[in-house]
């Protein structure tokens, strides 16, 4: 599992490297670009993901101590936070689409600023989009183990799937921890 996580890290890492390098080449565009991002929404999303990570670890904890009810409750909470994250993300995306803050050749924002903002938004959508897909996959996985927990398939003796999904979910959280300051808070 950790090997898989390592591949994930390097995959996102590639994007981070590209982002970082281009940031060093076009600092103005990056600053101008990030002004279009809503810090409050980003911060709320960060809180959501952190909380979901917490409920996830609690779910793993209760799974390991045979507490089926609380495991399910925590898994559902995790799903709830993840859903909230995606809803906010949806509003953010809708706003960007409306303003024409789109990647590359679809960039049609008329508010001025450096041209390389198009590239910034290319990265923005690449990174948050890839992350969003991971959140979605995570939600599917969590729903799946919730169902299996309801069926009573796990016990303190065997809860490996819960644990693995937990690890995956934390990684998704971990990546957002970096995405948030880099995308939203660069100054």
């Amino acid at each position: 599992m950790w090997l898989f996580l390592a591949t994930e890290i390097l995959m996102f890492g590639g994007l981070f490297v590209g982002y970082g390098l281009m940031q060093s080449v076009y600092p103005e565009a990056w600053i101008a670009g990030h002004h279009h991002l809503d810090r409050i929404m980003g911060a709320i999303n960060t809180v959501f993901l952190l909380c979901s990570s917490f409920t996830m670890v609690m779910a793993v904890h209760y799974a390991s101590t045979n507490n089926k009810g609380k495991t399910i409750m925590n898994l559902l909470l995790t799903l709830g936070f993840a859903g909230g994250f995606l809803v906010i993300k949806y509003f953010e995306y809708a706003h960007k689409f409306h303003d024409g803050l789109l990647p590359g050749r679809f960039f049609s924002y008329h508010g001025g600023g450096p041209a390389e903002q198009a590239m910034f938004f290319g990265f923005y959508f690449c990174m948050t989009g890839l992350h969003g897909i991971h959140v979605l996959i995570g939600m599917i996985l969590i729903s799946w183990i919730t169902l299996r927990t309801m069926k009573g398939e796990f016990s303190s003796a065997y809860y490996t799937p819960v644990d693995l999904v937990g690890l995956y979910w934390h990684l998704v959280d971990l990546i957002w921890i970096y995405l948030f300051p880099l995308l939203y808070l660069v100054n």
Binding site: L5, G20, V25, M58, H61, G166, H170, I177, L185, N187
Partner: protein, 141 residues
Amino acid sequence: MSDHAHAHSSSARIYIVILGALLVLTGVTVGAAYVNFGSSSINLIIAVLIATVKATLVAMFFMHLRHDPPINAIIFVSSLIFLGLFLLFPLIDIGSRDKVVPYGLRVQAQPAAQKKAATPAPAAGGEHGAAPAAAGHAPAH
């Protein structure tokens, strides 16, 4: 990998403490973004440092790296090291490239120089008038 032989010694209380710490750190990051520490790079470094602290907390406690066999930590850290190398070398490259400035652009501040039709304008141009990377060092851009 996942089947820990040991029981989870971290109790629910520790998880709550960690969550609290994470939330506080998030607040600090947002707050720090509003404070000007003198240069954007310092702000960036502070933000990344805080993010790293948070990531470490998540990895150590939520992901149980603290209790796992060391091989997992080795995999995790080595992937980060390779990532670091991957970032470092292109940065060295971009940071130390020759800044070739041709004679046509050296005096670009004077409009007359622009008129010289013979100057081969670097291909970039494009619809956004994006400056080529090298010309980015010329004063006019």
